[in-house]
Structure formats: C-alpha cells, structure tokens
Amino acid sequence: MSVVTVAVPSGRLLEGGMRTLEAAGYLTAGTWRSTRRLILPCADGAVRCLIAKPVDLLAYVEHGAADLGIAGKDMLLEQGRDVYELVDLGFGFCRGVLAVPAGAVETWERKSHLRIATKYPRITERYFWRRGRPVEIIGLNGTVELAPQVGLADGIVDVVMTGRTLRENRLVEVDEVFRSTARLVVNRVSLRSRAEPVAAVVEQLRLAAGAAGGASSRREGGVELR
C-alpha cells in the first residue's frame, strides 16, 4: 500500500520515461529492456512501474490504478483528464501539425467541405472551432497520413518529429496545432491520501528531469495549443 505506482507509456515515450526513472534511481540501468513484464518492481521497493499503452495511460492515473504517470502533452490535451500535471519532463518533444497534400497547399482553405483525418479528434475540433471553420473529423487510430492519399480526407492533424513521414507521403505542414513533451501527471487523491511518498517521488523525478536538461526544451515548447 505504501508502494508508489508510476505508469510509463509504451511506444515513443518509453525510452525517455525509463531513463528518467533510472536517473531518479528507481530503476537499474537497462533492466527494463530485457523483460516483457508489464509491472516492474523498482530498485528500492518503494516504487513500482507499470507499462501502459499511451492512449490508456491517463485512465490508469485518473482512476488511481497508478499514482503517477508519464504522459505526452498531446494525450493530455486530447483526453482532458482530471489529473494534476506537475512537471514538464522535457523529453519526447513533438509538434502537432495540420498538413495537406502538396498539391492542395494553395487551395485547401477554399474547400467548402473540409475533411480532416486525425488521432486527435477533440484537439482538431477545438482548433477549427476557434477559427470558425466547419470541418468533418475522421477519427483514425494510426497511419493517418494514408487518408489524404486514398481520398478519405483532405488533410490531417498529426504529430511530427522529423517531418520525414510527411515528406514521404507528399504532405505539407500548413499550420502548427500544438507542441508536446512528456509530462509528469499525478492522481488527485494519491497527492493527498498518500501525500508523503508521492510527493517524494514527484520531487525525485522533477530533479531527474531537470538534470537531463528538461528545462531547455520546456522554454521552446511554450505554446501548447494555438
């Protein structure tokens, strides 16, 4: 019961999340690579780590199955969960962009009926709503960049890291929708009913993130949702 559970997302943020836990002294370097277990006990027994799908991770934290979690800001923006977002961990920087096929860069805004494919339907809806632009949103779970090529959508809202996927699929960014880095989130009850051990882990991870240079990317990651 006094063990603090930290949820780490599988996928793109796994490496950075585990490195942060290592830097904080909770995991022995690299041990997590050699296992397929989804729950890892940590070095001092005071913390355990569970690995969850990124899209599910915030549910674990919101409902208290995990006390803390490492989540991309993109997921926080999309899901609007009731969790405390306390620390920008600095890694996992990416941008969410609106992209359209290269041939439509000049014309897409004039389309009377705009269809956008995305893994982020709520962020996308808010983005277009703020611009007063009617839009049909097509929610997909992956390979969003395929949609414009097969006529499923006129454009996409998706995260880009290097821009290579966009280029290879002949898509061109026309606006930035959000910026994202990994965040440390905390369950609102854990923060209170188990205040001491949870606060200690928060501080430890905050220090670990700061030492890894999280602050620099925090400055550039300023605007989260345009």
Binding site: H63, L76, D82, L86, R188, A195, R218, E224
Partner: protein, 398 residues
C-alpha cells in the same frame, strides 16, 4: 446502498439537518441560474409538451437553493438542510461512465462564520465515518489563497483568465509557461508550483510567505483557527490543510474541501462555501455544504453482503393453506421475513432450495402440525402453535 444513504442521513439528522425532497426535473433556467457543481453543458435536457425547457438535476444544491428562496423564504436562519437523491450528468467520453448517480449531502444556509464552516467540515468527516469508509481523510483549502497569489502577480486580465483556466485543469506546467513568459519572479512561480505537494502547517507557512495582502493573510489565519475548532470537534486528525484543492472558482467563495480514501482515485465527497448562489434566487444568504458520492463510498467500502434470504420459508400440505397463511402473518408481526411457497413445488425441493439460498429455516405446515427443517438439515415435527416460539434461527455468518 440504501443502508449507506440512511446512515449518512441519520448522522446529519443528529446534527439537526432536516431532510428535504426536491423534484428530479427542474426548469432549465433554474439550473442554469444556479450552475452549481460545474454541470454546465452536461445537463440532460427535455422539452415539455407545452414547449417548456426542463432538465434532470445535475446536483442538489441549486434545487435546494430554489426551495430556500421560495417555500422556506420566511424560515428562521440558519437553515440546516439535508437531501438524498439521484443526480444526472451527460458524459462526453464514451460509454461506461455513470450518467446517473446517487448523492447525499447537506447545506448550512444563513451563517457566514468560521463556526459554520467548521460544523460543515466536521459533519463531512462524521458522514464518511457513518458511511463506513475506513480509512479516509479530508483535504481543506480556500479559494481565496490561490486567488490572492495570482492577484499579487498583477497579470494582465487575459493572462489571469488563462491561468485560472489552467488551474481548473490542474495544469501546473502550463501555469509555469504563462508566468515565465510574463516575467513573474522565479521565486514566486516556484513557490506557487510547490503548493500541490505541500500539506498542513507547512502549506500554511509556505502560503504566508507567498501572499502579502492583509485580507489573504486573514484567510490563512482563519484556516489555522478552523483547524483549532476542528480539533475541538474531535475530527482534527482526519483533516489536512491543502491549498491546492481546486474546485469551481466561480461557484465557491471560501473554504473548499474533498474527502479521500487511499483505495479510490476519485474524491468521495466535495464541498465548500458558496455565498453567491442564493442571491441569484433573490435571497442573499451565505451558505456552505457538501455532497457525498454514494457509489464511490460503496466502491471504497468492504464488500457488502448482497445475498438476501428470508428468515422462514413456508410450504403447506393440501388443505393447510389457511393455517400456513395465518402462521406467516403471525411471524411477520414478529418482524421476521417470511415467504410462502407460490410455485407448488414439492416440500423437499422447497426446503432444500430455501436452505441452500441462506434462509433461516423451512417449514411445512400440515393440518395442526408443522415440519421444521433447520439449516443443518435436521427435521422435526412440532405442534403449529410451537412455530411462533421458535424465534429467529441463528444463521451462519456469511
């Protein structure tokens, strides 16, 4: 569930809180005027045949406020009111979330004192105790503290609104971004962002350094005094000061609090002082109160025994119906739960199923005699009159 609600209402009654009933359906404009509990656009709306807009109540405080402003307008203050009922909220995200859930709560209306605040917080503690939650704790904050800290930063209104919105989302990273960009002193920003992990007297001391205005110093002193009163109530150990409690800022005007238990990731109860709600209904009474989320209390309580079986199951032989029904009536008058076989099954089957299902005993009424089978399987014949003397069978503790 009923037992939990009844236990909480009984505790509230011992503190002088009278139970009120309000309609499930309210006029939409009443609920919008109240806008309590941040239900906002999550209302279930209906249109009456006359074109009137109605909605299912999303919480109970606004309906109670409406009653106070109308039917109870001339009642002497302060009013101590309790309620229990189903409330309804639509959900944005997918299926699985509750749209209807039971609430039990109370309001203390017409008193603006620390004594009133303390009474409500103490009653919140006792309500969770009465509901059987173990262990639990209450976190107590004040909307004025964060408000004062932000006011002290003298942000332009646009940023101030943004920070309030971020606070409501509990996005402290976003708050840091806005404040850093505004060039707020790093020391203040760090101090503000430390609030969520500070508790009790440490949090109060920390906040004292953060706010300079005297009225916010007053708030901190009040919170300390409140702690002393709660000690006198004997609930001090269950309450911790937590200045990062974030509830709807536009609704609450003073203390705010939440009840928690370690095994559940969501609050069991929430409440606070809301001095501006009743004036929207034409009576400018100060008020404070809280509501318990009953289904969460149940989720956090030890597994309830939901097996339910009668004390006595009666079957009767041909021609003995009159005697059987008379026996049933006599036993019910002695406060036993009695069922009479209604499906015409043979005695052995009736008895076996009844006892397997946890009934205290099975009885076959014959002319002038009764066969009694006990839970252990033993069977004996006694005179009919003896049936009333048997009393309640001792049952296996389950």
């Amino acid at each position: 569930m009923r037992a939990t609600v009844d236990a909480v209402l009984a505790e509230m009654a011992r503190w002088g809180y009278r139970e009120l009933a309000t309609p499930t359906l309210e006029y939409l404009d009443v609920l919008v005027r109240g806008d309590g509990g941040g239900a906002g656009d999550r209302l279930f709306k209906l249109i009456d045949r006359g074109g009137e807009l109605l909605a299912l109540r999303p919480e109970m405080t606004t309906p109670v406020a409406r009653l106070v402003a109308t039917r109870l307008r001339d009642a002497p203050l302060p009013l101590r009111l309790a309620y229990a009922g189903q409330v309804f909220r639509g959900r944005e995200i997918g299926p699985g979330g509750l749209r209807e859930f039971p609430q039990v709560g109370c309001e203390l209306i017409g008193a603006r004192t620390l004594e009133a605040d303390a009474e409500i917080v103490a009653l919140a503690v006792e309500s969770l105790r009465a509901a059987g939650v173990r262990p639990f704790s209450l976190s107590l904050g004040h909307v004025g503290v964060l408000r004062a800290i932000l006011a002290g930063l003298a942000l332009p209104e646009e940023d101030a609104a943004r920070v309030r919105a971020l606070l409501y989302q509990k996005d402290f990273v976003g708050i840091r971004d806005v404040l850093d960009r505004r060039g707020a002193p790093a020391r203040t920003v760090d101090a503000l962002l430390a609030l969520p992990t500070l508790r009790g007297s440490a949090a109060l001391a920390h906040a004292r350094r953060l706010v300079e205005a005297t009225d916010s110093q007053d708030i901190l002193r009040d919170l300390a005094t409140l702690g002393e009163i709660l000690d006198a109530y004997g609930v001090g150990d269950a309450v911790t000061v937590d200045l990062s409690i974030i509830r709807d800022f536009d609704y609450y005007t003073g203390i705010v609090f939440e009840g928690h238990t370690p095994s559940l990731g969501v609050p069991l109860l929430g409440g606070g002082r809301y001095d501006r709600l009743l004036e929207r209904f034409g009576v400018a009474y100060p008020a404070t109160g809280f509501a318990v989320r009953v289904e969460r209390v149940l989720a956090a309580s030890p597994q309830e025994d939901d097996r339910w079986a009668p004390d006595v199951v009666i079957a009767f032989a041909d021609g003995a119906r009159d005697d059987a029904l008379a026996c049933a009536r006599a036993l019910r008058q002695r406060d036993l739960v009695v069922t009479v076989e209604a499906s015409g099954r043979p005695w052995d089957e009736v008895a076996r199923r009844a006892l397997e299902g946890g009934a205290g005993r099975a009885v076959l009424v014959r002319r002038a005699a009764a066969v009694v089978r006990e839970a252990g399987g033993s069977e004996r014949e006694i005179p009919l009159a003896g049936l009333l003397e048997l009393g309640r069978a001792a049952r296996e503790p389950r």
